[in-house]
Symmetry: none
Subunit: 190 residues, 4 copies
DNA sequence: AATGAATGAGAGTTCATTCAT
DNA sequence: AATGAATGAACTCTCATTCAT
């Protein structure tokens, strides 16, 4: 017996991400995904019962993988700014290294594929960062402003910075990254 | 033959923007656009020779309308921070009031519909803002950092802020907007 | 404006009946139906929103057309045997002349296409014949046996006779038809 | 390679008959047949080289089993009516007990699966009954009418009676069966 | 100019069949 | 021999576009 091969799911996911980055959600077909993944069309349907399901599962997967990354190496005991920069860098790195996922998730937001249930869960991701920022405010490091506004501001800078670096094809240098962080920190700090 | 019933063109553009916001670029058909615009399918083809052309023209239109707005009421003679805030507010207001256009342009970026030529022109929009920031740097108001990074940082905060306000369905209050600007300014200022 | 053309519905129905007789329900595709009807595939979908609906509507149509035929020229005032033979002949003729419809309805009965609701309505057809037979019993012409059994017996002879005539390619002659009726009458009469 | 695990062949045949009765020929897939038979898809292909062959062989099998049953307990020496009723009852019982096979054969008749060669052989089944009826005519018991017409008439009553009993979910009682036979006999007798 | 029916290429999906295990 | 994953041709259905009115 030939067992079902989990590697294929990855192949399909990667193929999809690549194609979406290239041509957008509007431009991909199941046939192309299969070809790109090195599989027959029918094979994709063994692993996902529809295009819809494939896209929803990929969306969930992307969400999870970002959550898992944001707090890598974070030490709650370290000074706030150090910890904050750590998380900031994690988010930045993640968005650089997984740019295709970022693009995919962006595109999904208005797509007919991703259902509301899947969308709603998205908010949960930000919860740990939310708490981190609350801590910063309590300890007097950050502006006494609505936490969500601070969070959005932090994310906005990263998001736009990465997008721009990618499309202008100028990879972020160490010094640019430092400037980016400084702007973010100066913007947030009390 | 390209008749000039501008009202119909507007109907078609608005229908398209509304549908794209609702369901994404991937989910709209010419038939739906026509119905939403109160026209027959064939009629749309009198004004645009293809879906492709319709989308590209709408894209151009959106771009132009943003350029035209960013420097409204801007007085080059006023103090830098005043002028800068003016522009910042214009951008913010524009993105709030024309959220559908913002969504549409975002989605277009990776779509197979918008051709590269159309994409490239996009950069030009930012040119006047670019110059404004250069001026701020020269006059010592802003950080001595790569101009583009400053620009991106400024835009990122606005972009993410508006998006969030929209999806969380909490309209931006005067005080939130002030906080947003303060964060932006503190981040940029020398 | 080009109006929707009801003749096309007939073309589609006829094409379907012909193909089902030829190859059975299992062997027909929407593409073939369209081609046989002289239309493009998409056109069929203007008139019927799915294969399922097409088949269900054709089923209903066939049912109705048989009801309408069974009592043509029937005069309730005429002697019972005369009236009964009239109806018997109508049924026979109908099944000969609309053999394709008969085959189609037979095949539908176990198909996944025809839904139960459609099936149930079928019983209603027999209601007028049912009443006719009841009358025959009351007047002492027919065996005093469960009415439904008499009805089924009557139908069975016709049904099988027509089927056989068709497949053996020996059209029913006047004398064969008379024999058939005599057998039926002798079987039913008191 | 055609291994002889007759049990598996029976499982496959029974699964097929059950499914065809449920959903018609148009609604069954090899995968479903296998599942219903408690086997893997591939296994079915060890016993039958194609769906086509499976269906044709099942068709043949059904035919044979009916022939074998019609003359059980028939004693050519017994009085004609007794012998005739014996055969009539055998046919009736067979069709009741093997209703799924009856349905399957009915559906096959217009299917693209069963080839003409298989269809033609069907006529042979009726040959012994044909001879029985000829005997009845010679001995003056039955109407002097084309033998085939008599045969068809006999079969029609049974066929329709069984079908109706099944679908109306009223099992045939002893007395109903007697009525049915009386109608048949009265219809046929000289 | 305006309509919406008609078209057919192409998308999503199924399924008979094959094949690696 | 048995399994069920893999295949890709073929099916149902959609939709950008055309065309008759």
């Amino acid at each position: 017996m030939k067992p079902r091969d989990d590697k294929k799911i990855d192949q399909i996911f990667n193929a999809t991400l690549g194609l979406v980055k290239q041509k957008g959600l509007a431009g991909i077909t199941m046939c192309e995904i299969a070809k790109e993944a090195g599989l027959a069309t029918g094979t994709v349907y063994i692993y996902f019962k529809s295009k819809d399901e494939l896209l929803n599962m990929l969306f969930s997967e992307c969400r999870k993988s970002s959550i898992d990354n944001y707090f890598i190496n974070y030490d709650p005991a370290s000074p706030f700014k150090i910890g904050f920069k750590n998380v900031w860098m994690n988010i930045l790195k993640f968005r650089i290294q997984n740019f295709e996922e970022v693009v995919f998730m962006d595109q999904c937001y208005h797509s007919p594929f991703i259902n509301d249930c899947t969308k709603k869960l998205t908010k949960e991701i930000t919860s740990p960062i939310f708490k981190l920022i609350e801590k910063g405010k309590e300890q007097g490091y950050l502006k006494n402003v609505d936490t969500f506004s601070l969070l959005i501001f932090m994310i906005g800078g990263i998001h736009e910075g990465v997008k721009n670096a990618h499309y202008s094809q100028k990879p972020l240098t160490k010094s640019t990254i430092d400037s980016m962080f400084d702007m973010c920190w100066d913007g947030l700090k009390a």
